[in-house]
């Protein structure tokens, strides 16, 4: 018999199943060949080495931002600033990738370090505003996304833009700055190793160190943390620094791993997707791996479906919307939990 303690896991699984069923219903209505289309959506991402590569490539930035947002959510900070930081750190890393000449692995290292530090410092601003003056971090971080995008776009247009190119893109990166590929035939780059190491470190930090303990307690009940003698303002600033660092590193790694020029003229959306990843992962660093892979899988599935069938890839946003809606709806399946509780209580 199912136990109440597995409720959250079951609920997440149920949400995903419901979202997929809705997707299938929509596909059946829209497509002339629904069975074939669903087959493409579900199986095509896993069919070839290249497609699996696509899934993992897409999962890398999602893991970065998902991890950053998980830590923020864990501290009960509803901060969605990973978006702007991801973008702006990409710009910072690009500057170094274009203008610096360094040997071998030092070049990407320097560029990624610069992007990460820039991310940490920028992220600290909403953190300080929250810790010192209780400014709502959701509002400040969303406004920061706009500011960072504006400044980043300005830098691209007026300082980095390659006039010889036919699009609004930067000069080419130095070859030395780009991250090497891990597997032939795919674009999976060393960023995968970086993010997996980072996730393990974050896990150890969160559950095994006293700073992680302070973070968890502050998130669980800030009043309790303060009463116990913790300096919660410092904790809040620290988690913003760490999350900004991770999101910034994600932007830098993405730019150097996947592109040869900086070419984002709009926000890439990975920051907000990170919030979805974090929600699916229940803010657990290790679970971020699976939830980022899942999201990447249905994204690639939708892309392939758009290419190979008559259903557009925008359909995927419906699935995402359903997932977010149901996961964040606390009452969803509550009646079922209550019934289980009643049953357990009667048996006891």
């Amino acid at each position: 018999m199912f136990k109440v303690k597995y409720f959250e896991a079951i609920r997440t699984a149920a949400v995903i199943v419901i979202a997929l069923i809705i997707a299938f219903l929509i596909i059946s209505l829209v497509s002339d060949q629904p069975v074939k289309t669903i087959g493409i959506f579900l199986l095509e991402p896993l069919s070839t080495k290249g497609h699996i590569g696509n899934v993992i490539e897409m999962a890398i930035p999602l893991m970065f931002t998902g991890l950053a947002v998980s830590l923020l959510f864990r501290a009960n900070m509803f901060n969605l600033g990973a978006e702007g930081i991801f973008y702006f750190s990409g710009v910072v890393a690009s500057v170094l990738a274009i203008h610096l000449s360094l040997g071998g692995w030092l070049h990407p290292l320097a560029a990624i370090a610069a992007g990460s530090i820039a991310g940490a410092l920028l992220s600290a601003i909403p953190g300080i505003l929250k810790a010192k003056w209780n400014a709502n971090e959701l509002v400040t971080s969303l406004m920061f996304n706009n500011i960072l995008f504006g400044v980043g776009l300005y830098l691209l247009n007026y300082h980095l833009r390659d006039a010889k190119a036919f699009a609004n893109v930067s000069f080419k990166f130095e070859k030395t700055a780009q991250l090497s590929k891990l597997f032939a035939g795919t674009r999976i780059h060393t960023g995968l190793i970086i993010v997996l190491v980072l996730i393990v470190l974050a896990h150890l930090f969160l559950y095994r160190t006293k700073w992680g303990y302070e973070l968890r307690m502050t998130g669980a009940n800030r009043e309790f943390a303060r009463y116990s003698g913790m300096k919660t303002a410092k904790v809040i600033i620290l988690v913003h620094l760490i999350a900004g660092f991770i999101a910034g590193m994600g932007g830098s790694v993405e730019v150097l791993g996947m592109y040869s020029r900086f070419q984002w003229t709009s926000l890439p959306g990975y920051g907000l997707d990170g919030a979805l990843v974090a929600m699916l992962a229940k803010n657990n660093p290790l679970s971020v791996i699976a939830s980022a892979l899942f999201l990447a899988y249905i994204r690639i599935g939708a892309d392939l479906m758009a290419r190979l069938s008559d259903v557009p890839s925008e359909m995927i946003s419906i699935i995402q919307a359903v997932i977010i809606l149901l996961i964040s709806a606390e009452q969803f399946l509550k009646f079922w939990k209550n019934r289980m509780l009643l049953k357990e209580a009667k048996e006891a």
Binding site: L204, T209, Y213, R216, A220, F224, A225, N338, L342, A345
Partner: protein, 520 residues
């Protein structure tokens, strides 16, 4: 039953955190009676009342009013059916007048505007009808607790309540105010109202009720005619054994003073004095009790002792072990050996979603022996948590269970375990047994006495007079932010006498209260 006004059958309530508050409870109410629901804290009385008033939906079971099956999904449903409730914590808007509070949500109108004079008239009329004197134009924040309760009762009556539920109405009243309330309830009964009276004070139940339903551990232990059961029998049914709140206290000779409060004054941002000229000292191995009706400065005093003086306009001094803690933060104060059992275990005392172990280490996770290099020492923490859970008899599935799943009493034991196990020099215990069952309360009391034997200085702030009279070595009474009485033999003081001081009717002179400062 022919004349059952309200009946509840097979009521079971399980809260989302797994706490079973009611288990297959039967309850029936006859027209025109005063029906007591007695039981310890946590026995499920309040939950049953919340279900009766539509604030909680039962997980299972049925409710009948005059034989009709009803579903009460909101308090409005209950009000529509003539049920009114006076909550333990008053639901009044402090900055509004009595009349404005009376008509809240059913305001009389004049054109598009609010007809204040009609509200006043309605209040006066209702007050006269039920013989409950209130001043309609007084602001609620200026009223005494007893008056506020009257307003609450009137509020229910003006909405047409035939059944009146009073949730522990005497908890906040002095003995004198309690008597007045009983008189009023008798009058209401004579006018045909039915009253449900929730209490765990047996004397009161005996004094005023016709029948009694006794609850224990979420179950109903039966219904009795009040004349047919003795206090002893009721108490045995309530706790399953005879209660003796008597403790053998070691003879200790108090040592040097640990806490010295000297002419402490605190004013709020509007310049209103919350504390004035508060002076007392607490010595090693001494329990100093602080009694008083809630809201007479105890909260501010406890704040001042636990790090709330920063950024507050205060005069005087608070010395812990000779160190002025005025500018100290909480970490510094805890570093001086101060522990604090907070009044509100949910808001301050624990982090509900975190494990019992995490909750136990929150004040000592920094210490060397809890860490190994950069990491927390998992096995040490597990061992500590396991031994504290065992020592304090916390009923749980293990130290990794989230603390929010525990019952109030067990949650409080975790808080007490944390605060008592760090070898404190000074313990501030604020309502340490509020809302916990008698077994846990006795356990906590023994722990406090153990600490006292180990030369810990203890400040005990409590609204439970029995507890404070029994445990304290000396006793202070607070009224309107001042110390109005000092007793060096609390066990010789009667509750009635204490009541007179708590109500501000009597007060001792400076010389007598000055004895609260007793340096060696």
């Amino acid at each position: 039953m022919a004349n059952a006004l309200l009946e509840m059958r097979g009521i079971t309530k399980v809260y989302p955190n797994g706490v079973v508050a009611n288990k297959n409870v039967e309850f029936s109410l006859r027209e025109g009676e005063i029906h007591a629901i007695a039981g310890e804290n946590g026995a499920g009385k309040s939950t049953l009342m919340k279900i009766m008033f539509g604030m909680e939906e039962p997980s299972d079971g049925e409710i009948y009013i005059r034989g009709d099956k009803v579903k009460l999904q909101s308090p409005q449903d209950a009000i529509d059916r003539g049920i009114g409730m006076v909550h333990q914590h008053f639901m009044l808007v402090p900055s509004f007048t009595v009349a404005e509070n009376m008509v809240l949500g059913m305001e009389p109108r004049k054109g598009v505007g609010f007809d204040y004079s009609e509200a006043v008239r309605l209040t006066e009329e209702t007050a006269r009808k039920y013989n409950l004197a209130v001043n309609p134009k007084a602001k609620v924040e200026d009223l005494t607790v007893g008056m506020k309760q009257k307003v609450e009762i009137l509020k229910a009556l003006v909405r047409g309540a035939q059944i009146l539920i009073l949730d522990e109405p005497t908890a906040v009243l002095t003995p004198q105010e309690t008597e007045e309330l009983f008189h009023e309830l008798q009058q209401l009964k004579e006018q045909g109202h039915t009253i449900v009276f929730i209490s765990h004070k047996l004397k009161e139940v005996k004094a005023i009720c016709d029948r009694i339903t006794i609850m224990r551990g979420g179950r109903s232990e039966g219904v009795f005619q009040i004349s047919e059961v003795s206090e002893q029998e009721i108490s045995r049914l309530m706790v399953g054994r005879d209660v003796v709140l008597k403790y053998e206290k070691d003879k200790t000779s108090p040592g040097k003073p640990v806490l010295a409060v000297d002419r402490l004054g605190v004013t709020d941002s509007l310049g209103k004095a919350l504390l004035s000229e508060v002076s007392f000292s607490v010595r090693e191995g001494q329990i100093v009790g602080i009694a008083g009706v809630e809201g007479n400065g105890q909260t501010q005093l406890v704040e001042a002792l636990t790090g709330g003086l920063r950024g507050v306009s205060a005069s005087g001094s608070v010395l812990v072990q000779g160190t002025d803690i005025r500018d100290a933060d909480i970490l510094d104060i805890r570093g001086l050996g101060v522990s604090y059992i907070p009044e509100d275990r949910m808001r301050q005392g624990s982090a509900g979603e975190a494990s019992i172990a995490d909750n136990l280490i929150s004040t000592r996770y920094r210490s060397k022996d809890m860490n190994k290099g950069p990491f927390l020492n998992g096995s040490k923490i597990a061992a500590l948590a396991a031994s504290l859970v065992e020592e304090f008899k916390v009923r749980c599935s293990g130290p990794q269970q989230p603390i929010g799943m525990l019952s109030g009493g067990n949650m409080q034991k975790v808080v007490v375990a944390r605060e008592c196990s760090t070898n404190p020099q000074l313990l501030i215990a604020e309502q340490p047994t509020r809302g916990v069952d008698i077994g846990a309360a006795q356990f906590i009391h023994r722990k406090l006495l153990e600490l006292r034997s180990d030369h810990c200085a203890i400040v005990l702030v409590s609204a439970d007079l029995n507890e404070i009279l029994e445990l304290s070595d000396s006793l202070l009474v607070m009224y309107e932010g001042q110390i109005v009485a000092y007793f060096d033999q609390p066990s010789a003081v009667s509750e009635e006498e204490l009541g007179l001081y708590m109500l501000g009717i009597h007060r001792q002179d400076k010389e007598q209260t000055g004895r609260a400062v007793n340096h060696v």
